[in-house]
Assembly symmetry: C2
Homo-oligomer: 147 residues x 2
């Protein structure tokens, strides 16, 4: 994902292109997984030492509003963000803060079919996200160093 692609991503969403926004969106594509605001600040400060904290939060809000990224629900009091926009699910390690993505079209299909049969009265579903909570067995664990 180069700078030009990032610019056009921003433009597509009707966002003004600023160096700060480019840096932050770039951070998403370079940081492994589900970063916190702080992860992003730390990352971008390497090359842009004077982007302010407030800006990062404001940009993140803007990105969330336009659907460029989404917030990840967690049990902790730090917000995490996700730049994957296609339907996917999350694996939450219960012995660390690691969150991994889980994408499987079959699961999506299964859920869609289920809710076609079982309507929730007066409710329109916009998204379905499965939280898969559990733990990785030792060995594999070392490979999952997402925070």
């Amino acid at each position: 994902m180069n700078a030009e692609e990032i610019r056009s991503r921003l433009k597509e969403k009707g966002l003004k292109v600023t160096p700060q926004r480019i840096a932050i969106l770039e951070a998403f594509y370079n940081l492994n997984n589900h970063p916190t605001a702080d992860n992003i600040i730390e990352y971008i400060r390497k090359n842009h030492p004077n982007i302010s904290t407030a800006t990062v939060y404001k940009v993140l809000d803007a990105f969330v509003s336009c659907g460029l990224v989404s917030r990840v629900k967690t049990e902790r009091d730090v917000m995490r963000y996700d730049a994957i926009t296609e339907t996917h699910h999350h694996i939450y390690c219960s012995d660390s803060d690691c969150i991994e993505d889980y994408t499987d079209q079959e699961l999506n299909q299964l859920l869609m079919e289920y809710f076609e049969r079982k309507q929730i009265p007066d409710f329109t579903i916009e998204d379905l996200k499965l939280q898969i909570i559990g733990r990785f067995r030792r060995g594999k664990e070392a490979l999952n160093t997402d925070r």
Copy 2:
């Protein structure tokens, strides 16, 4: 759920029975849905005006540790708690902070069967929670005043 039942709930979990803990657990059964620490504080202060904030947080942590309640993942920076311990899912209104419960044995079954077929390598599933995100249509909405 009377005071005696609440006492024995606490004892079952090996927790010391204190008036504060009784009040807080009682609050869960009287407050509608997925309260925040603040909702609980507000509620219990009516009858126990001098329970401190720190105590409420400490008690909530204790309850979470012993599985009496669980934290609910949200996109906001307030923690919400849930006293339902059986497997269930959550309906998140995207236009309010309302979270409703969704319980259906068939869905649980469907998910279990799916993951029996599709194992996640080196991962042991402890819980599956579906986030059903969307919005209630007007009319019904007035009935869903969970914050």
